[in-house]
Amino acid sequence: MKLLKNIALSDTGFVFNPGTGDSFSVNPIGLSILKDLQEGKSEEAIRNRVIEDYQTDKETIEKDLYDFLKMIEQFNLTDYHE
């Protein structure tokens, strides 16, 4: 999954899609995941990084990450052709 190239991420967690005009707010974990996607990291690499950073069980992280990625896909923040 890739984030659309023109998505603007601010350090405050403000996310702006100039193609649709939509804007969102994400918390620090969400922002770190979006930044990872913007850098082209794989879902597996992101999962491992989050597991390392947050002391929660792997299953919870996998489920929450899956939900988050599906959500940003639904919000048209990811590349349509990916």
């Binding site: 023109n6 603007a8 100039p18 193609g19 649709t20 005009g21 349509y80």
Partner: protein, 348 residues
Amino acid sequence: MSKRKITVAVSGLNNIDSPGPGIPVIRALKDSELFEIRIIGLSYDTMEPGIYMHDLVDKTYQIPLPSAGQQSLLMRLSYIHQQEKIDVLIPNFDAELFNFIKLQDTLKKMGIHTFLPTLEQFEERQKWALNTFGEKYGIKVPRSKQINSTAEIHALTHEFGYPFVVKGKFYDATVAYSPDQAMAAFNKISGKWGLPIIIQQYTPGTEVNLTGIGDGKGNLIGAVPMRKTYITDKGKAWAGIALEDETLMNIARNMVKGNNWRGGFELEMIKTDKREYYLIEINPRFPAWVYLAVGTGQNHPEALVRLALGEEVKPYESYESGKMFIRYSYDKIVELKEFETISTLGEL
């Protein structure tokens, strides 16, 4: 650099909840770095707020309604021109454009410059001709049909299915979910704007619009796409945001290249979930949100004035997406004397 002094007449001073483009056009002209512009307002109704906005409009003259015909409009404009020596005239209502297009050569001989679409351009993008227009310029258009009587509505159930959109020939559109709603919409809209009524297939998606200007030689001089972020109960934008939308820009470029569009225009499109674009309307003038283009770095009304004066204008190459506009309402205090003057003398 000193600014050139010119006089520009502008209509569409109805800066109300469903605003005309006049005041935004005037604000854009007042922002011009090339011109110092005296603004002459052209009004149809004494309640048009622009008449009383003296910081923007220097003098206003009432003009006859479009239904009065070209000759009475010409007589009135001749009088106004004698008083004010108008350099450029920018009409901003769909309903008045036909008369101005027909009069443009006469006006030019008088020294009043316009920059309007040709009659052919104006006619071929009419709502009832939009399907043919789409085929000609390779733009997807929802199927549409014009009707002249409520008796035709029942047959539409099979042809279009519900919901469909009931549209007036100049303004207004309502989504009808049943024959009863379609009839009510037909009567309401035809009562206001006359016949025909246009029935258009309902296309679900997000409305995205584009304000642009063509130089009449196939070049798109400027264009800014926008999505409405807050919509009034009349379907008008109360807030909007400038988009980056290369597909929409290409649609505009191709249209202007294909038909040598002359003047300002607005494309109203629906972008579906599959990211397909359907043209639902082309307005042959600037939209009321044209000042957003100025905010993003493109002063389309200024470019139009330059084109009208016969100057060569280079296309804008960029704009700043993410700029937003938010309208607001404002209670303007008006002296009775002013209302009396415009009501009785037809000028203020």
